[in-house]
Symmetry: C2
Subunit: 261 residues, 2 copies
């Protein structure tokens, strides 16, 4: 009993942004997965926090079995991890160094992917890229919540380029790597600059012109600029955190009994 009607899940389907889906009668595992993903991305579940299964089962009004499967899926994506007889926990927030490493790997893959895409992309893929360019030019930069729009466009762009490379493994890997960054959307909105939009446009223009060299260069420039922008903010946050709370070793842990006499 006790069906809850909470927020209408705004951030559903962030990672799995595949095209055309039946959407309506989706599996309970998918539903739980999307709910959990949105909770993680919106920090409704804190980074290090424990994720109780039966609590979620009651909260989402779903049985434990699908919840467990959804958590297993998130674990495979490294967005959560499991300690065998203790439970699941949300993945820790990426450190500044990890963000650096993440971009290091993306810099190995995505510029090359852009070059491949310029050479081998099918016409449909280019059409979708052109369409995306149109969408993104409409977006404002100064606006408050327009940042979400930008972030979505950014994700779509990288996804499309990776897919257009024609290399299945590149597409899968890029998709997997991007998932880690969604959480940072809510920490700062520094990437939504006019400059970032120009970088996007440069990438798309090079691809539409089928110029591999320019595409590779544009993608590399975009990633490096993006990494630099993130690094600035992360250094700032690091300094603040160091001054603020020196003692805060581990997340909220509570087990065993809670009430006594």
């Amino acid at each position: 009993m006790a069906a809850n009607n909470q927020e209408p899940l705004s951030f559903a389907r962030l990672v799995t942004l595949d095209e055309r889906r039946p959407a309506y009668p989706q599996s309970l595992v998918e539903l739980a997965y999307e709910q959990l993903l949105s909770m993680l991305v919106t920090m409704k579940i804190a980074p290090g926090a424990h994720i109780g299964i039966e609590a979620l089962a009651r909260q989402l009004d779903i049985s434990q079995t699908p919840i467990r499967e959804a958590l297993t899926l998130l674990e495979a994506q490294k967005l959560a991890y499991k300690i065998p007889n203790v439970g699941f926990r949300a993945a820790e927030l990426l450190t500044r160094r990890e963000v650096h490493d993440l971009f290091e790997l993306r810099l190995l893959i995505e510029p090359a992917a852009a070059a491949f895409a310029a050479q081998k992309a099918e016409d449909g893929a280019l059409a979708r890229l052109a369409g995306l360019a149109g969408e993104m030019s409409d977006a404002q930069t100064g606006n408050e919540l327009a940042y979400a729009q930008f972030a979505e466009g950014d994700a779509k762009l990288h996804h499309l380029v990776a897919a257009a490379s024609g290399n299945r493994f590149i597409a899968e890997t890029v998709e997997g790597l991007h998932a880690h960054l969604h959480i940072f959307r809510f920490l700062f909105k520094t990437n939504a600059t006019t400059k970032a939009l120009q970088e996007h446009e440069a990438i798309i223009a090079a691809l539409l012109a089928r110029d591999p060299v320019a595409a590779e260069r544009a993608m590399r420039a975009h990633l490096e600029a993006s990494r630099a922008r993130m690094n600035v903010v992360l250094e700032e946050q690091e300094r603040l955190a160091a001054a603020q709370t020196p003692p805060a070793p581990d997340g909220p842990t509570r087990r065993g009994r809670s009430r006594r006499r």
Copy 2:
């Protein structure tokens, strides 16, 4: 009822070759996962074949719930896929083009990883590499089943290099990509040449010398040679398959009732 004592699972723990593990009282999910992985790798479950849940449950004498979770894990690794209300199937064997693409991505990542490792590897990592070099020099090349030894060494080498790069995402990605190749071990043993061993030695030597340029070059040469060796065999198999069985669209599919009067 009906506990079965079949083969003592020879190929357990192929993908998860992490160090030091409790090993003994492992979760049933892990057990099912390893059993399934070994079945997939040894082709005991054919590439396109349907994987029935309750059948496996009886066969492994494990309940359906852990089986299902293990399958979900394999699905996340793209070693199996699920059709929503129909069931799980083993992933199709990689086509020649997919193998090419897989190596294309590895060529983007692993040479760079080797260069990073040469610069930033900790002493422990180098020590393990040196130890691996000792192991591999003992292995014979002409021997029959010595190929398994070589394959294991190859997997360990790439894993160690990726880990030694100090970049968590590189390590994870390389590990994930390598999983797809395990199946090919049983199709041919062409890679276990004296030449391949020399390539391995060159990589390790460059790393021990902390020479990034040489390490990158050695890794690139090894991957390209390995890709070429695989390509030869795959072309051969392709030709054979084309001449042999033109009509064989899908794997064994059986549902609904089986017996009637």
